[in-house]
Symmetry: C2
Subunit: 514 residues, 2 copies
Amino acid sequence: MNLRTKILGLEAGGKFIVVLNREDAEDLSVSSLERVRVRGHDNEVIAIVNIASMLIVKGTVGIYEEVKNSLGLNEGDEVDVEIAPLPSSVYFIRNKLNRRKLTYNEINEIIQDVIKGKLSEIEIASFVTALHVFGLDLDEATSLSMAMVKTGNILKINKPVIVDKHSIGGVPGDKTTLLVVPIVAAAGLTIPKSSSRAITSAAGTADRVEVLMPVNLELKEMQRVVEKTNGCMVWGGTLNLAPADDIFIRVENPLSIDPLLLPSIMSKKKAVGANLMVLDIPTGRGTKVKTIGEADLLAKDFMELGRRLDIKVQCAVTYGEQPIGHTIGPALEAREALAVLTGEVKAPDLIDKATNIAGILLEMSGKKNGKETAMEILRSGKAERKMREIIEAQGGNPNIKTKDIPVGDQTYTVRSAKEGYILWINNASLAEAARLAGAPKDKGAGIYLHKKIGDRVKKGDPLLTIHAERDLKLQRALDGLEKADVLGIGERMDMLIHEVRELPVSKTTFMIER
Amino acid sequence: MNLRTKILGLEAGGKFIVVLNREDAEDLSVSSLERVRVRGHDNEVIAIVNIASMLIVKGTVGIYEEVKNSLGLNEGDEVDVEIAPLPSSVYFIRNKLNRRKLTYNEINEIIQDVIKGKLSEIEIASFVTALHVFGLDLDEATSLSMAMVKTGNILKINKPVIVDKHSIGGVPGDKTTLLVVPIVAAAGLTIPKSSSRAITSAAGTADRVEVLMPVNLELKEMQRVVEKTNGCMVWGGTLNLAPADDIFIRVENPLSIDPLLLPSIMSKKKAVGANLMVLDIPTGRGTKVKTIGEADLLAKDFMELGRRLDIKVQCAVTYGEQPIGHTIGPALEAREALAVLTGEVKAPDLIDKATNIAGILLEMSGKKNGKETAMEILRSGKAERKMREIIEAQGGNPNIKTKDIPVGDQTYTVRSAKEGYILWINNASLAEAARLAGAPKDKGAGIYLHKKIGDRVKKGDPLLTIHAERDLKLQRALDGLEKADVLGIGERMDMLIHEVRELPVSKTTFMIER
């Protein structure tokens, strides 16, 4: 059927979508969300159909940007539109809904079609839900990892040993990577670290690092930095290491499920050529992994998946019941990390975590006394020098000082209304407050935590200071804090957590961060 | 945040959607598919966010038709857009993903939010997938049925006994309802029958009936017809009996799953006030329900759900290995049904099925010898007269004759290439061919089946005749038939069904028809 294009001027998030008039759709026997083959200018794409009854008139077809660009269409061009058969990947997904294990070839075809924009959000959401409900077995996780590597870019660094670290996330204020990379690189190991930006948290590692240096590097620039300094800290988004993952996460996020956790992480490590890796699993009530037993089971899965992908994995199960260090939010965190590197501040938990993880990597690559070596590299200033080298190589100012880093000047300090001990800290509420204050977009927004679990407080003592760049957002964060239980203060024998008087709405959720 | 509207001129299928510029979205801390509250002209809606980087400039917001109409917006109006909290229904869906049973109140809130357009396609797809994977228990099925009734229209007919029938579908050519309704109504029972149009089949009952009379009746007109004639045959789409179901089906169809089968059917029966009902469960390889054992289990669930909803249900497990009668496609089927009512043709399987089902309804309402009575009503011409009464009451021509019904004049007859018996008929391929010929949109398109299972054929005997309204579609149907195995012809001891030489792509699917 020949139709005239109407350019809609809208993007579909990478998917190929066209809008048909209801009558034309009936004539083609296609329903909404079925597929058509659109042919124009000697080229063709498979597009998903939306249907409009009023604004796309009979004889025309509404064209989203992706289709426009792929076929080089202009307003009023003639295109040939015909019904297209269902891609096989849809049948594979339907098989998964009926509990069938998927083969490598089937998974590979699903991943290819996800990237090509051939699958609708409904199909991807259903696939991801089925993976969540049934659980991924390790064969499928391996296939998914391999298929995701195959469909993305590969970093080639000519070194026999390449190390990497990853945290499955969930703890606010976790700036460990900003210490581990310079320590490990200063020790002579190669660590091509890519990180994500925040998705539901107040800061991702890429957001933190960006306060100190550019992170939007192309793959070639990343390679140059690593070859020069042994390390880097870049944003994964521009590298296209496992592009399918970015599409899955758009669906996983609103559902607050993360069934692709293992292949998502491991595919990116494989893509940068890592052969030794340490995985940080923060554990505690406020994180993704609630108990040490669960953490050990997850560790086992990662280690086995690593073995199948030729990556030796060790895991660090870490304490995650409260933020790491004292700061949450990109600039506050970058400043704290830099201050630890320069020796200006001591954040004992942050230093302990970073040197433990760096130490594991050092020992995995054959060095002795890993943690002590890491501590010595940090204390001696070698880590700071390496950090400045990396900053310079990535295009930042190598002489940056902590006081050069601006933080939000709209502040409010919350003080304790009573005396007692800090019994618990609600990670999710703190992260939410930092987001309301403007993080991660407003780099200077965030929270400074004056007290941590176990600390004694008197009435009137400062508990936390909110930083925002704009008064309006400061107010929003304060309103948010008022509604939430952020810190528990009481005597050590206080037993009641909260009362349930009517049917509760359980709003359990978790931070997705990769 | 105050933004100027840009009217997009696109519909979102009932959902409230707005498109934000990426920077504005970051400032509001909303991601794609999260929700905002849009306030304008003293009114507000909760809308789902899409994000555009180019075509919605900073400071403007793209407005879909649903939001435009709900708030009465014009191009360039100022609206206030703020982040909105997640609806509780999203948390209930997340709980379901983690295998929690949902309470009535939780289900009710999900259904309400589905209808109000507050849930994204991803959330609905995930919910429907979880229901498919975990299965609905009867408590949840009851809650869903009640919530769907509560959110839709109700038919009020002042009669102590109201009967209804339903087929779970899957057999092509099933025009049974066109006989059952007039038989039962002629016997003095009240049967306010609403039916669906085809979704993935070649004709739904509403499509068939529409050949004989208007079916797009409003609820009040339906009531008037039933009060006048004891029966009606209308399309459910205009009645709004369980509007949530129409939204679910848009998601279920591309996934080829139907977890809401029970509440979908039973809520509509409850909404028309039925208290006696017979459910037809066609059984066989080409239908939804493959074996008699499965059919019995499904029957049990329907009967128990009926009990909880105060509807007495009996089931008829019927033979579904081939089409009912000889015709597929709206006009061909309407003509066959009318010809059976007038006595012009005998279609023994169709008559047997219709009189059995009508007979069950007669016996359920206290009459003796149901099947014989039904047969007598059909044979005596009473059913035909009742049919013409209903046709007249619904606004059709009561004197319509079979020869007045036009069928597609582009025809091609497929003849047997060999001698033998018809061993099997592939329902799905036949329906697909009828669709390719233009059914259900082209009412005259379809297939006439000359032979049925068990019939002896000689080389050159006509097997089936395709009817189309346009030559192009006839050709398309023929191309489709060539690729498919439609009829199996052979000797009765032929054992091989097909060979599997390489990894097959299992394209199992089923007809969704309600």
